[in-house]
Symmetry: C2
Subunit: 257 residues, 2 copies
Amino acid sequence: MINIVKIGGNVVDDPAALSGFLDDFARLKGDKILVHGGGKEASRLSRAMGMTPQMIDGRRVTDAATLDVVTMVYAGLINKRIVAGLQARGCNAIGLTGADGNAVPAVRRSPKPVDYGFVGDINPNDINSSLILRLFDSGMSPVFCAICHDSCGSLLNCNADSVAAALARGLSIYEEIRLTYCFERPGVMLDINDESSVIPLVTAESFARLREEGVVAEGMIPKLQNALQSASAGVDEVRICAASALLGDGGTIIRRQ
Amino acid sequence: MINIVKIGGNVVDDPAALSGFLDDFARLKGDKILVHGGGKEASRLSRAMGMTPQMIDGRRVTDAATLDVVTMVYAGLINKRIVAGLQARGCNAIGLTGADGNAVPAVRRSPKPVDYGFVGDINPNDINSSLILRLFDSGMSPVFCAICHDSCGSLLNCNADSVAAALARGLSIYEEIRLTYCFERPGVMLDINDESSVIPLVTAESFARLREEGVVAEGMIPKLQNALQSASAGVDEVRICAASALLGDGGTIIRRQ
């Protein structure tokens, strides 16, 4: 079984939360991969350098100067901080972009209808599974940021949720996969103000119903769609939970169908 | 035989020189490692962020904010640019800091007599040779920047020449090693204004003589001392040459004694 865990800005931006999470991730048994987002650090650095971060539909428009910034922040600062933190906890982490060892090749997104610049998308079939399985054999835990490459010399800014999903789908041919999305809430909730209202299990059918009834909030729709897609494409279990629940059982689970 | 090649700012800072170098490095046969310095990019970013780079005897004083900057620039921007460039040239590069896979553990330098901050030194015996040999077995070429870690969670800014030397000495137990330092001149020259005056071979004896006669210039003394030390510690050949001469024969050679 391979655990693939994705963390975002709510963990990466908060030193105490990150430290607690790394304690838990280091304790996770067996083969594991960590995929991290970038949080607010990239926007902070952009602003410090006199640039104005531009987002369309929550995605960063990545011109050449912004690509340099996200490469510095995601592949440099955050990735290596996490790797050093895991090493100190006895977890033999190895930080990678998709370019390293050609681990995650991507394709630059078409500039139409929206030109996002150096932004890429990933085909799960292109994941370099043999590299990752060899790293596992050597006792290492890959730590991925969402910087990938087009195999023609250009780095591409990808989406960390998508990198995690592509790794999960690509590796699901070889091993049972548990994909965990850590986010700022304990799971998908019936009532956004009631933490005890987490829906323990979502299926394609219940998702359609929840969506019809307007129960799942806007931000949750792509997350759940993504999870359902992974589960229908071979990922055995997708869990959406709080970072602090990594070693526990809580959260919302979507199972392979 | 393992080729270990170190490049510095004169290559890293010049896109045309870097591109030509990567062409050559990709063509280099067999197992190989690239170690790169950071060039002026780190100072530029420091200044853009309102910091004043501080150097003592050519070494960067690395406070916490500067450590973030060099981690971003060396481990992020430059390392991943090189990796993507090599991948595009058919060389299966994997970019690493010393923290990744615990490849190159370092020890923080004593704050006395000079407090350099988060600066580390490397013991060649600590190099994680088995990791590097396994990467070679998988057909990969490691690309190292000089960011290492103290195994307790802190990254450390190290010297790229020293990282290259430590890798060469650490791996010399297993394989014949050729260590190449690319720099801005064609080699150690008798007359700094005459490129045809390169000294083809330097030994401990000839170095002592050249130094006595005042032939070797100031900056060359530590470079040659370092090379002689590597050669006496098991590295089969150290070559000091221009980056453009990587595939050729020129430069100054120091052989194992």
